[in-house]
Amino acid sequence: MSDDWRSSPPAMDYSVDELMVTVLADQFHDGDQACNGMASFIPVAAFMLARATHAPELVWLASSVGLEPRPKRIPASTLEAPLWRDSVMYLEQYSDFWTYVLNGRWIGKFCVGAAQLDQYGNANNSVIGTDYHAPKVRLPGTAGLADLCSIGKQLYYWNPNHSPRSLVARVDFISGAGYLDGGDARERLGLGGGPQIVVSNLAVMDFHPDSKRMRLKSVHPGHTVEEVQAATGFELLLSEDGAPETQVPTQAQVRLIRDVIDPDGMRKRDLRRR
């Protein structure tokens, strides 16, 4: 595909979904094996963009089924056959996919969304409210999140609706283990991997190497540290270099996303849905 992405100037008219795609794409490199889940248009766009630019040897396992597919463009579902068109392999779920995932040596990177994420990167997709069996909101459920979080995977959270309701001091229910109570709590339980970054519609966050508390890594152009903090349900740490502006997509990246990868704009559904 295009190789002018390296020298391409910054885009002037990118939208926030495109920014989230490029930030996520930067996390995936040649030799990585990455997998998307349900309703994951932004991560799928990120994988496809990475493969089209800096990481042609990023192995993509589409929705845990299709290895190295060649979809015509991003279809209306990220968990249906049009996405895994032309796959090299259909992984049987029980014997193939879950074995490779559990093994630990393979398929190391997952993009996941969660209704609630807390300051230590614990995730909740189960219930809002304190009584599990009479919740205020019954969410979809943990699906594979509880597994991926506990078996050493590197997790890339994306959150298209940065708010005090989605980024909370403490999740109502841990359906995916982040850094638990912070510090070495995760390590003490023998769990490897863990949350790497959180890409929202306002900013990019990571986790302090010692305390494991979430900290601001960069703020998207047009937003301020104060605005991001006000939209967060707990105090965000600031990194030493303050909070630089998030690097914006290049013109070439935006062209690839709009014209080739996702001409139907499916990625915008991730923003609308929440």
């Binding site: 209306a76 968990l79 049009p82």
Partner: protein, 297 residues
Amino acid sequence: MKDKVATLEQAVALVSDGDVVALQNMATQAAPMALVRELIRQRKRGIGLVVLVGGMAVDWLATAGVIDRLIGAAVTMEQFGLCQQYRRAVEGGRVRVEELSESLLNARLGAGARNLPFLPTRGALGTDLIALNPDNLQLIEDPFGGDTVLACRALVPDVALVHAHRADRYGNVQYEPTAIWPDIAIMPKAAKRVLVTVEEIVDTDVLRRNPDRTILPGFTVDAVVEVPYGAHPTSFFPNYGYDAVFHRRWTEVARDDARAKDFIDRYVLAPINQQEYLHAAGGAAALQRIADWEEGA
């Protein structure tokens, strides 16, 4: 081999009130919807539903009051959003959830399939799922001195419901090359009884042409029913895609109990057979929509 051909009525009569029923499907895929509708028509009650990831079927069963508990990893219609009727039933205390991650459910069903008391996993350590479920999840020591693992107690559903591409009259069931969800690899092996709908019942000689595509030997199957488009409105590749129009029709009414019940009356209770159901769902136009999945977005 024994003849297993049955009607939907005969097949679902093998389900008793109170049974644990495992449903093979994904969010918008491959659900045995004709069997689900028949469960509603026969007014089954007190059913415990096992799903890896359930979609519209769970919503319908909640609306109709068929289920009172769910054992599963997720319930969602993916891009069509949450299952609102299921959600309300859980929030209102009418459906109790035993939530398991995918590897935990796989381990429970895998143990059931192999007649083992439990299987271990490393999944879900550190989550709140474990404390919630001491009857079925216990941390145990490795007798060889390695890490602690989570023992997941065997789950043996009373019945598994499966939709597949074809079968012969003896219940040998075949699946076309497509996504093979975990449910199909273990649910029917774990369950005491297996009810299968297929797009087509064929002569055994047709199966012999592709013995590698047979996923269930006849001796594991109790009833096989020919129901073309039996997974509608979910997708069943490569035969047809999901019916987005029909999904949206449901999501428009699913937040309102009365309208949801009307929907069930109209699409589940009123049609006396699959043909009438498909007619109500949009007839030829609907079938055309879902046939074109390959070119559609």
